[in-house]
Subunit: 241 residues, 2 copies
DNA sequence: TTGATCTAAACCAATTATGAGCCAATATTG
DNA sequence: CAATATTGGCTCATAATTGGTTTAGATCAA
């Protein structure tokens, strides 16, 4: 309604288009909820009342209500009415995963490894190929002669990643890779430097060999049990009892 | 392209015309977008309004809009209108994991859920707060009255995410959130649409209620067992025996 | 003239909004 | 308990809105 066509170069933010009815209705209702005018549990006017109040057709109104319902803002029930929904904590967005991973404590990481890896080892016992087993033994050999903790840590990580990969579940491999990024965190490295003694390295080496042997024997239960014991040992050395 | 030898000055892009309406229009609209006057998603005035505001013929205006569309600045849709395009998303650090997740088969997803969720439920039984439990029941209520499968799916996903979050392991929550993105994949949705019957929805609703009850009773074993049975039922309905 | 650009109008196709009627689940009343 | 009223769920036909296309004519520079 503000057709000031005198200035050709400045088209202003004119008016909301007629076909924005649905969006406009949603905005109105959401504002009522946001302002606390309609509180959670409040029963909103019937559709036949709302269509009059808002000056739109019932079909249009219903499209808006459907979207509000899908967004979780309201709940509708035949014969009862439509109600303002209880607020739900806004879930974190996808992007949070990285910070989630990088911000995770060693305790959290071990908690998850302790559940994922024994299970994965059980699967790997039946699914691992000869090439997988060869690669595992390769990792163990490298770790055994590693000159320092970071190098040992690298081959240790590679070994566990290979075991996980042998479970032949691509999604699992991806998740574990994300978990593994935490190994490159300074905090994790410092923890390792402080806790990985030569004695423990020898113990880990022995446990790693047993695990791969169990996988080669195609014994799921044995592999799962061995890797679980290994991870418990790791957790103890990292975090204490 | 490079025949500079014959002609000293080749007028490649010479637009000598005094009134280059198209370029002028493009400049005006781009300026509106750049200045934030028209934000991403904003629906610009209809062509029939713009031609009045700019004082040009619709044909000329459309030439400008076409170029803007080709440049990715706006998006046009018959019957709906023209919209300022969303800015292209910059490459994510998580792309590898994301593609890993999105490329995963429902079978792989269920395999991991079946191991992670019972364990998480066991932890949640002792770690869930009253607010967590309230939110779970809220999700169940939403799912119960969901008018269609996508909406049901949304609240079902929210419920499981809440249970996971109740285990109070931030890394786990992040991983599960990544897994959950697969629910938005077309393949997954089609599978759900095809397999989620009213009968199964009723069964799931009952199982969900039992699970949350077990969590409220602080019974880890019962919760783990119930969610395991639930997920087995889901897997069967999705993938068969 | 020739070619390019702009103006103008009519019509096409996809989407949205309207209005009416009827159905299904729930609430209320006798 | 049974009957009625209320309320959301749904479908259909119709009209309005909006970008897409074609055609014709006017203007202007090379």
């Amino acid at each position: 309604m503000d057709q000031m066509t005198s200035q050709p170069t400045i088209p202003l933010n004119t008016r909301i288009r007629a076909s924005d009815a649905v969006a406009s209705i949603i905005e109105t209702i959401e504002s009522n909820i946001a302002q606390g005018l309609w509180k959670p549990g409040f029963r909103l006017p019937t559709e036949r009342e709302l269509e009059l109040q808002l000056g739109v057709a019932r079909n249009t109104l219903r499209k808006s209500l459907k979207k509000l319902e899908e967004a979780g803002k309201i709940i509708r029930q035949i014969g009862r009415g439509s109600f303002v929904a209880e607020p739900v904590q806004t879930g974190n967005v996808m992007t949070s995963l990285l910070t989630q991973v990088l911000g995770s404590s060693p305790s959290e990481v071990m908690e998850i490894r302790l559940i994922l890896e024994p299970w994965a080892a059980g699967l790997a016992a039946t699914r691992a190929t000869a090439a997988d087993l060869t690669q595992m033994r390769n990792c163990i050999a490298h770790a055994a002669v590693a000159p320092d903790v970071p190098t040992f840590e690298k081959w240790d990580g590679e070994l566990h990643q290979t075991i996980i990969s042998s479970a032949k579940n691509g999604l699992l491999a991806g998740l574990y890779e994300a978990i593994n990024t935490v190994r490159h965190q300074p905090e994790w490295m410092k923890l390792k430097e402080r806790t990985v003694t030569d004695e423990r390295r020898a113990a880990y080496h022995h446990q790693h060999g047993e695990i791969v042997d169990a996988l080669a024997e195609r014994d799921p239960d044995k592999a799962a049990k061995l890797i679980r014991n290994h991870l418990i040992a790791v957790r103890i050395s990292l975090l204490g009892e």
